[in-house]
């Protein structure tokens, strides 16, 4: 008779954990998330309705701040510039990104495997660094401008106009479109395209009349995304708009800081509210469009290997097109930074070999604040990144497999920071630390920057976490329930171990974006809270080109270490 036959060994069912205890960590997680998201935002709105900074005794409630900025012609020109640049870059990035995706996904373009990570470089490098790279490479006395002058007697480009900013922003945002277009093409079952080929359509006809309409929702989504990112631009207009005095919304807000001599928090808050009023509808629109994208993705047929389309004579057109794009958006700015970091000065008549120096790095490492900035940046990416992933995971578990009202609340909470540019979140957190006295001691610590980063990237991070969680089959968790595991134990002993690879990948991606981040730290910059990104903004304002170049290069190297690790461990660089 069997050893495990019933009558001999009866085992009682484990006692279920009390429902209240089971949900206490969840309640805590939701409450903390709500505070971290809503406190800074409500403070912005509150501040915008005052006539003076909130700590000023003479403040009154009213619309004075709005009246002031609406009467300021600079504000309206900033609005116009923002819209122009956003529209221009969308028009450039979307078609280019779509073509790039088609070439990479569907044709026999040579060397696709190693080109792919290169395509994503502009989206991983800090825009501040990229813009600086453009100035030193292609500005009036940039390397390429001087080489072009030597060769042709003049450089036929200018960097500082609104149009130039739109072009550069457009080219550097091609990866954002490429990512969505190429995954839409990947998800598109090859059978629908093959069916069209069989029915007699040429490859070009298939691309235009089958593939394009089917990835249209993805393109539309990425168009809205790029336009939205255009409204958020900060580093690029700060660096390139400055020489000719072009302001966009974010730089207008930044310049307001000192406009009245005294802290003009109420004016900044009013501008912030205006920016958020423009971005919130775009974020909601994106959410709607994303559901559309998913709807199309589910009609896919078999995801078979599609035979690559031979480009034939067109190969050279594609090579030139992609080569030119890579040259302008990756090679030019990157070379600029790499060269500028190693020369004493640069201008007409200066020879590279003679100007070579390591002094720029010496001056970085001699200055304690710079060393601290580097150290903090590494720390916030590694330790901070791990903590951030832990927080995101906790939030993910708070909504995982729970279809109640609270889960929907969290869904929206997570979405909210998406609509608020990093610069504003940093500013709002500065106010939070000033406003809530118990938090004040944290203000001067790197914790403040970490918290702001974590909130800014909440939506992005939650997408990473939930896509990991979605991959765990429901049945694995149900199996644990039926053998007697409580919810908490299932999370710890089944789900968490199953998503650990996804979490490691998320950590690497969070590391990269934290290294890249710059605008969120701008207002939180204080002795002790320096990070490279914010430090660059401040140094650029001070005109310390040599140090900016060296720090930029260090920043790029940090990002590339993350990128190399991610590629090494096969982390998917996009969702």
């Amino acid at each position: 008779m069997a050893t495990i036959a019933k009558p001999t060994l009866e085992v009682a069912a484990p006692r279920p954990a009390a429902a209240f205890v089971g949900s206490l960590p969840r309640a805590l997680t939701i409450a903390l998330t709500a505070f971290a998201v809503l406190a800074p935002l409500s403070l912005i709105v509150y501040q915008s309705l005052l006539s003076a900074p909130f700590f000023d005794a003479a403040k009154r409630v009213g619309l004075d701040a709005y009246a002031f900025i609406f009467a300021d012609p600079d504000f309206w020109s900033a609005v116009r510039n923002s819209l122009l640049i956003a529209a221009g870059m969308t028009l450039i990035a979307v078609p280019l990104g779509a073509v790039l995706a088609f070439v990479m996904e569907r044709t026999d373009f040579p060397g696709k495997r190693w080109i792919e990570p290169m395509l994503l470089v502009p989206s991983f490098v800090s825009p501040m660094v990229l813009s600086f790279g453009y100035i030193v490479a292609a500005g009036p006395v940039g390397f390429f401008s001087i080489w072009a002058t030597d060769l042709f007697g003049g450089a036929p480009w200018g960097l500082y106009s609104i149009a130039a900013m739109a072009v550069i922003a457009g080219l550097t945002h091609v990866p954002n479109v490429y990512i969505y277009a190429s995954s839409a093409l990947k998800n598109l079952g090859s059978d629908v395209e093959e069916a069209a080929r069989i029915a007699g359509a040429s490859p070009f006809r298939v691309a235009v009349s089958v593939s394009l309409p089917l990835i249209m929702p993805a393109l539309l989504f990425s168009a809205v995304l790029v336009f939205f990112l255009g409204l958020e631009l900060f580093g690029l207009p700060l660096v390139l708009g400055d020489p000719e005095g072009h302001l966009v919304l974010s730089t207008y807000l930044y310049k307001l800081t000192n406009k009245l001599g005294t802290p003009s928090y109420h004016l900044m808050a009013a501008v912030a509210v205006c920016i958020v009023a423009m971005t919130v509808p775009l974020v909601l629109l994106q959410r709607r469009l994303l559901q559309n994208v998913r709807k199309y993705a589910t009609i896919k047929g078999k995801a078979g290997r599609l035979r690559e389309l031979p480009l034939g004579r067109w190969k050279w057109v594609a090579v030139v097109l992609i080569g030119a794009w890579l040259f302008v958006s990756v090679i030019v700015p990157m070379t600029g930074i790499a060269l500028r970091a190693f020369v004493t000065n640069w201008g007409f008549g200066v020879k590279l070999a003679e100007a070579f120096t390591l002094d720029n790095f010496h001056s970085v490492f001699e200055e304690p604040t710079h060393v601290r900035a580097i150290w903090n940046t590494v720390l916030i990416g590694t330790v901070g990144g791990a903590l951030t992933v832990a927080c995101y995971t906790a939030i993910g578990f708070a909504t995982h497999r729970r279809n109640d009202g609270w889960s929907r609340v969290v869904d929206y909470l997570v979405l909210v920071p998406r609509a608020v540019p990093g610069l504003l979140i940093g500013l709002a957190f500065l106010w939070v630390f000033l406003f809530f006295a118990p938090l004040a001691p944290l203000r001067q610590t790197i914790f403040s920057v970490w918290l702001a980063y974590t909130v800014v990237w909440l939506a992005y991070g939650m997408r990473l976490i939930s896509s990991s969680l979605m991959q765990v089959s429901t049945e694995l968790e149900e199996a644990a329930r039926t053998v007697g595991a409580s919810r908490g134990r299932i999370s710890r002993e089944i789900t968490l171990p199953l998503i650990r690879h996804g979490l490691l990948g998320s950590w690497l991606l969070v590391f990269m974006i934290f290294e890249r981040e710059y605008s969120t730290g701008v207002y939180l910059l204080a002795p002790g809270t320096e990070v490279i990104g914010a430090q660059l903004v401040s140094l650029w304002q001070g005109g310390a080109i040599d140090v900016v170049a060296a720090l930029s290069l260090i920043n790029v190297v940090l990002v590339f270490i993350g990128l190399a690790l991610a590629l090494r461990f096969g982390v998917k660089l996009r969702d």
Partner: protein
């Protein structure tokens, strides 16, 4: 004694009713098969018993303990129902070894150490998995995975074991072996099992009793023999076995028999519920009960052979009777042309 009792269970997904009042029992040492077409609610019923779905009406008792009673607001969570469930996909935890997969249920019950170890070992031995303890699920074949899933569900001796399409993930050849093996195991260990399947031959072979579900209701229940040879409804007759369907008009009834007439033929059959004189009727007969004969006679009709298929152990012939098609088995090939077919009165059910 009844190990599991379900009474008047109702369950809906949104506005879509899945279970519309199901009542059933499972006795100790009995294997009950939940059989039905896809969408009939059989898996939902199983999951409701396990506590993974929330019914909106009815009661569920395991032994004499009420685990669900809508009216009294009792809903014991799945983890406290102490049942064993074998998933269709097996749902083995890929990050745990075979040993740890099986040991988890004991660990949750505070049984670790030497005792836990020996019981896991025993369970693995029982299912001839003793040598595979340190493997991970992905290193096992489908049949081995299924046995691990079973060991995992049995190791803590649940009073009832629930099986969700336990054989459907195995390939056809393995399935028949596994069926025999599973039946033997269940009988040997005197398990009380509730087993979902959509395959009638699996249900016939494995269970002591079959519950046939149709659109959220129990259509008929009984022993496999009753279900196969004495169907009460057209649905049951049609779902079990391979059938011929012959529509016609009932022109006469007497002594439990009915006369079905069609275009150029008339056949006596066993009258079933709803077969009344003068109404439209449907004649049902299993393929294996039609005989190809030499000439005319009682309850015979003439039909044109359209084609024959060779099945290995027998032939299947396809006949045309006006618009209708009749299929019959035979031992050898037939010449083309018209043939006489006999449909014995006892084997022809008229609904």
């Amino acid at each position: 004694m009844s190990e599991l009792t379900v009474e008047n269970l109702h369950l809906a997904y949104g506005d879509n009713p899945i279970l519309k009042g199901v009542t059933m029992t499972l006795n100790r040492g009995e294997v009950v098969a939940l059989l039905g077409p896809s969408g009939s609610g059989k898996t939902t019923l199983l999951r409701a018993v396990a506590g993974l779905e929330l019914p909106h009406e009815g009661t569920i008792r395991i032994g004499d303990k009420v685990v669900f009673d809508r009216a009294r607001r009792i809903d014991v969570p799945a983890e406290a129902r102490n049942l064993g469930l074998v998933f269709q996909s097996y749902a083995l935890w890929p990050h745990k070894t075979v040993f740890d997969n099986v040991a988890y249920g004991l660990k949750l019950r505070g049984i670790g150490g030497a005792e836990g170890k020996s019981r896991v070992k025993a369970a693995l031995e029982q299912l001839s998995l003793g040598h595979l303890g340190q493997r991970f699920p992905h290193q096992l074949s489908g049949g081995q995975q299924q046995r691990v899933a079973l060991a995992r569900a049995l190791v803590y001796n649940p009073p009832v074991i629930l099986l969700d399409e336990p054989l459907s993930n195995l390939d056809a050849k393995l399935r028949e072996e596994a069926r025999a093996w599973l039946r033997e195991l269940i009988v040997r260990m005197q398990l009380s099992a509730l087993c979902v399947t959509h395959d009638q031959s699996e249900a016939l072979a494995m269970s002591d009793r079959i519950l046939l579900l149709n659109a959220g209701r129990i259509e008929q229940q009984g022993t496999p023999q009753q279900m196969y040879s004495a169907p009460e409804t057209l649905f049951t007759a049609d779902f079990m076995g391979s059938n011929n369907r012959l529509p016609g008009r009932i022109t006469e009834t007497r002594d439990g028999a009915a006369l079905l007439e069609g275009d150029g033929w008339r056949l006596w059959g066993t009258a079933k519920a709803g077969a009344t004189r003068g109404s439209e009727g449907v004649g049902m007969i299993r393929l294996e009960r039609i005989r190809v004969t030499e000439g005319p006679g009682d309850n015979r009709l003439q039909a044109e052979l359209t084609t024959s298929m060779y099945l290995g152990d027998k032939w299947e012939h396809l006949f045309a009777l006006g618009k209708e098609r009749l299929r019959a088995y035979g031992e050898g090939p037939l010449e083309s042309g018209r043939h006489w077919l006999e449909l014995p009165q006892r084997a022809l059910w008229i609904f």
